[in-house]
């Protein structure tokens, strides 16, 4: 009998479960490698060459190069791992989160100061 995964229907949300984790294993482990300062330097010096050291899919590599975090998540990335890329780029967590919403940085920041996104957002 199939597993019940009702969380798949939450709008604008990808729950990082065992299935996503399997898909994104190498992508996330690449991100983890950026915890070391020397790896951050090597990655920034030649991103493509650094990514090619990892058995990631071409789609995953392109998503990282484009800093397309929504795409990274669809391909198995988890935000706490992907945050290591943002840290390497000198981005705050708010900048990273905002980049996935289609809003500008200023718009996203203003939304948060005004109490955040309505929890009913995207529900039918």
């Amino acid at each position: 009998m199939a597993l019940d995964k009702p969380y798949k229907n939450i709008p604008g949300t990808t729950i990082f479960d065992a299935e996503q984790s399997r898909l994104g294993y190498h992508l996330n482990q690449f991100c983890m490698s950026l915890m070391k300062a020397e790896n951050r330097v090597r990655f920034k010096a030649n991103e493509r060459a650094y990514l090619d050291e990892w058995p990631m899919s071409e789609e995953q590599k392109q998503a990282v190069l484009a800093r397309d975090l929504n795409r990274c998540i669809a391909l198995g990335g988890n935000i706490y791992f992907l945050a290591k890329i943002g840290a390497t780029d000198g981005k705050s967590f708010q900048q990273m989160a905002g980049s996935m919403t289609g809003m500008s940085e200023a718009e996203y920041r203003a939304m948060m100061i005004n109490g955040g996104r309505d929890p009913k957002w995207g529900r039918t």
């Binding site: 009702p6 969380y7 939450i10 709008p11 604008g12 949300t13 990808t14 729950i15 990082f16 479960d17 065992a18 984790s21 294993y25 996330n28 482990q29 991100c31 983890m32 950026l34 915890m35 300062a37 951050r40 975090l69 929504n70 998540i73 988890n78 935000i79 706490y80 791992f81 945050a83 290591k84 943002g86 840290a87 390497t88 705050s92 967590f93 708010q94 990273m96 989160a97 905002g98 996935m100 919403t101 289609g102 996203y108 939304m111 948060m112 100061i113 109490g115 955040g116 996104r117 309505d118 929890p119 957002w121 995207g122």
Partner: protein, 286 residues
């Protein structure tokens, strides 16, 4: 015997740590948040325990995808603040309590909770930000800390019900320790927040405040809330709140004859970066 004197609950947003570390707590953006912790810092000075049992989650710092323990107890003599990609936080090394930690591990495992024992681990903002909020910027933390890491990163995470039961087992473990230690148990993380996808930025004040009400007054019923409600109502990262039920489960009114705890302090604020911040201090009544 050792006993649990109080439980403390707080969000552990990394930006709060950065604001403290970079001397920005007086800025208009941060002032209201830190004002909510002024009472707590004074309370902490007056009620410094012998040990803090600190429930938190690791954020892809000590645990990558190589190893994903559901419940991990830190039994080491000390734990270094981790470099999470921005350099390590300039906070004191966390001194552990290996004797009590090993005792709790032994007791809780015999009580059917299969903990992972960790003898070497760096600790991230999940653990150090709550310490900073309650203790300020001391040269050394005021007492030893036992880190207790819960997987809330990869689904499925433990249920609220399981966390609440685990808290009860931790209380039994503490109370079977011979030395008369005063132990606080802290539950951290939350409140509503979502850090990913087009729905990032979600905040649900109503749900959060109802959670605080119920955590105080009817924790056993609150523990029945399924995962789906947390992620739907409080955002994908709001699931961290299950960890608060571990601390609440360890209080003496649960499954026993103790009186309801005294609410020493309650605070709620939006936002800290992407997150709603909640904070409670509950004292066990003698």
């Amino acid at each position: 015997m050792a006993r649990i004197t109080a439980s403390v609950y707080t969000s552990h947003v990394p930006a709060i740590g950065a604001a403290i570390d970079h001397g920005r707590t007086g800025e208009p953006y941060w002032q209201p948040l830190f004002k909510g912790y002024e009472f707590s810092k004074q309370w902490m000075k007056e009620h410094t325990p012998d040990v803090i049992f600190l429930v938190y989650n690791d954020h892809a710092t000590a645990f990558s995808l190589e190893l994903i323990p559901t419940f991990a107890i830190g039994c080491a003599a000390q734990f270094k603040p981790a470099d999470e990609g921005y350099g390590a936080r300039p906070v004191p090394v966390v001194i552990g309590h290996p004797e009590l930690a090993s005792h709790i591990a032994h007791s809780v495992i015999e009580d059917d909770f299969d903990l992972t024992i960790v003898n070497r681990m760096d600790v991230d903002h999940g653990l150090t930000v709550p310490l900073s909020l309650l203790c300020g910027q001391p040269q050394a933390w005021p007492c030893p800390v036992i880190p207790f890491a819960v997987n809330v990163v990869q689904y499925p995470v433990p249920s609220g019900k399981r966390c609440f039961q685990l808290g009860q087992a931790i209380r039994r473990a503490v109370e079977s320790y011979d030395e008369p230690l005063r132990v606080q148990i802290w539950g951290t993380g939350g409140m509503s927040h979502q850090l990913q996808g087009p729905r990032a930025g979600l905040i649900n004040k109503e749900w959060d405040n109802r959670f605080l009400d119920r955590l105080i007054a009817e924790p056993a019923e609150l523990a029945q809330v399924p995962h789906l409600e947390y992620v739907t109502e409080a955002g994908s990262e709001g699931i961290e709140l299950v960890m608060w039920l571990i601390a609440r489960g360890a209080m003496s009114d649960v499954a026993g004859s103790g009186k309801p705890p005294r609410v020493a302090h309650r605070f709620f604020h939006v936002p800290a970066s992407n997150t709603a911040v909640g904070h409670l201090i509950l004292e066990n009544c003698a």
